[in-house]
Amino acid sequence: MAVAAPPAAAPAPVHVPAPPVHVEHAEAAPRWSGWDWLATVDHKKIGVLYLLTGFGFFLLGGFEALLIRTQLIKPLNTFLPPDIFNQMFTMHATTMIFLAIMPINVGLGNFIVPLMVGAADMAYPRLNAFSYWLFLFGGIFINLSFLMGGAPNTGWFSYSPLTQKAFSTTNGVDFWVIGLSVLGIASVAGAINFIVTILKLRAPGMTFNRMPLYTWMTLVVSFLIIFSFPSITVALILLLFDRLAGTHFFNPAGGGDPLLWQHLFWFFGHPEVYILILPSMGIVSEVLPIFSRKPIFGYSFIAYSGVAIGFLSFTVWAHHMFATGLGEFANGAFATGSFLIGVPTGVKIFNWIGTMWGGSIRYRTPMLFAVGFIAMFIIGGISGISLASPPVDFQQTDSYYVVAHIHYVLFGGAILGIFAGMYYWWPKIFGRFLDEGLGRLHFWGTMVGFNMAFFPMHWLGTEGMPRRIYTYFPNMGWDFWNAFSTTGAYILGLSVLVLVANIFISWRREQPPMPDNPWDAATLEWATSSPPPAHNFDAVPVVYSRYPLWEERHPVEGGAPQHGAAMAATSDSPVAHPEEAQEGGHAFHLPAPTIFPLIFAFGLLLVAFGLLFAPPILRVTFVITAVLYFAVAIYGWVKQVSE
């Protein structure tokens, strides 16, 4: 066999440029002005905007968490008044779920997925910009409630009738309802964009069976979003009617049903958990093979178990409602579904360990976080089993045990995965490395702080401490572990500051030009410059295997070109438009920047305020103004397309 020598001979494999790829990039890293950002339709800039905004909200949500933990550091503490505490835990969860983890995942996906599948952009670049601006405005809108009469204080699950006007008299719940509706539009638009991009814009030769696992998981998540968000959207609008128009959909005082809210909410709420965690599972499935220097173990099992989790996630929602008195039969049925979903989850964990097994593991920061992800997600998975058993759930639900469980899934899982992805793709996105030493400090600080903060909560819940209580009494036996947990939370907070410092230092430090493929990775995003040019690839890549940049190691049987295979330009590609070739050899049509998605999204922000604050006498005027406004916005948007 004429297999090329493995890159073992290279002196510093980390910096080996991808052997098969050689492209001349016509332009240097672009200089981006303010206007470019506001009018951009480039998936990479939009991805960066998502990442920055999401990270900002992550810091805000983390700060809220530290306030919560400070209040609970000792019994009968008076650091936060009860109502402020309730606002904090409501906004902590809302922020982390809708404004941090989801957007950061969308940001990474936005930047990486089109590159990974060899496309020039997302399928609908303007819709993509629209999604971002809507997310930004929705996030700002919800948080403005802090300054405008009080934030929502009914928990992120907002059970009715607590959310009815009679029990929640401030505007907080209205902000929450309208803000989440706006964010829902952004999420669904984004999901449709991902689905079309992945289904229609893959490079020639990239069959489903060769699609990177991160792309697979993004596809599954996008379908989960478009099937689950309608349920919460309906619930939110009905609740808005209850509050603003005096209907009784969820109000038992008027014949409504509070359990209807719970069904609609959790039919969205449980798939949402997988919307948050599956992208991280995809990231880990990319990072592990690269740093173990061998292919993923059981590609099909991982891909299909992701699909299985997606389907099953719609059969388990009522396990959040075991204690509502659904009856033995319904509880048994949903318990069965919940146990079942443990199987594909377990399969993934075994396959990840199998990927490391027999490898030659290089511990760069992305790999540390990936291994940390597996270690922590095992705990989150196991603690889920007891919650899936209705009798045990009767004791554990609504106790601190659940708080431990969700944080092992959503921090130990989703966020550690995101950190792995951040360190992994940072060189591609920004053309510079994050510092390894600080990365290690960030990793170990996170592991210590996270486990100190959340592991004792299993015990606190088992000892009967209910969740969402602003205080507790000193004779309950909960003092020590609460103080311990708060200490851990502070360490976790410090470790996030290390990450911030790392980003800042890497930003300011002189770095040599980034090679295309600094990690010796295998997928297409590493076949172009770092950061990539506006048009992504100078020629449409052609794919012959799952690992286009590793073809020397995994020669493709049946006549694929042996060298430089991945990057052959083809004139019959659906993406290429040779007739539009510009100077410098670009064969791509790039959509023109436009401000109209931003204008459209801003209009929805105005509508949100109008719903809450428009004086009755001006309502008709407002509606007419809004119709005219959107007509102009749509005209501008469409005109740009037809030009």
């Binding site: 008044p81 048994g332 199998g354 490391m356 609504d398 009967g464």
Partner: protein, 361 residues
Amino acid sequence: MHASRRRRSTTVLLPLALLALLIFAGCGISPQTTIDPRGPNARMIFDLFNLWIFWPAVVVFFGVEAALVWAAIRYRGRDGDPLPNQIHGNTPLEITWTIIPAVILIVILYFTFQTQAALANPPEDPNSVHVRVIGHQWWWEFQYPDLGVTTANELHIPSKVPVVVTLESADVIHSFWVPLIAGKQDVIPGRVNRLWLQADEDGTYFAQCAEFCGIEHALMRFLVVAQSQSAFNDWATGERRIQGFGSAALPTPVPGEPPSLVQQGATLFANGACITCHTVRGTQAAGKIGPELTHFGSRGSIAANTLQKQDPVNDPDGSKRFSLKRWLRNPQAVKPGNDMPNLNLSEADIDAISAYLESLK
């Protein structure tokens, strides 16, 4: 080589030992624990958890984490190492590790169903007691329809017999949870949920609302007092007694004699804002918004177990009515957001009203 390996094992073992020490150091058993069951309902749940979930989970946890740690340490490579064997998978192995978790989960599911069936209905018992529990923001009302008793925040039950509680809510969703005796069950407006509990022994058990129900969710606590059948019967008899002054609902002043503190308090109570919210059977007080106070003097705590009448520091035997006075001085300072406003009572009025309330045995 050996030395370095030993050093590595101490660096792993030392933190583990430290962690174990910490766990045991902090292991005071809580009066609200779920793992020291004192009744058949909680015991069945604990047995299911302990035998079929916790210990198998411990085994799985250590097994899988050990495999991960082993792979992570054993397969460390260095820059310049040759490329490892490029394995893509192993289908029989992968099918095996799909089937094994499935089998384990089916076993747990079987015992789950078994426990569910056992929990579904209370054991047959002619002495079984029925309690109607009504959740309010942020206190508990307990009615005994068969005994003609209504009380609040302290649930008396006979021990060793099953007690069937039906759960209703006056406002928002709450959750009824007595961890030592039974798992929780939500209290949902517009619905009637059902739960049974049984205490093995006489005793006082801590309990607390478990579903977030608004600003004072944290202080919506209650006590379950399990007592012998005869003590329970005596208690119920006492609770049925109505209050008053002889045949009168209010004290009749004796000419030439100043009214006693209790009499002053009764008059203040009956003429003040108190009766719009509270009931004292036998008097004009028939308000339904706050807890029934007919036998307030026989209860040990105030405001849903927020304050103890016996303050270990300021009022060890409760005779100074320290906690009750603190409550009356400004309920909003003790339990911010609760429905009882600050009545701006004078210190003399507080003294009289608290004396009257404590006299309601």
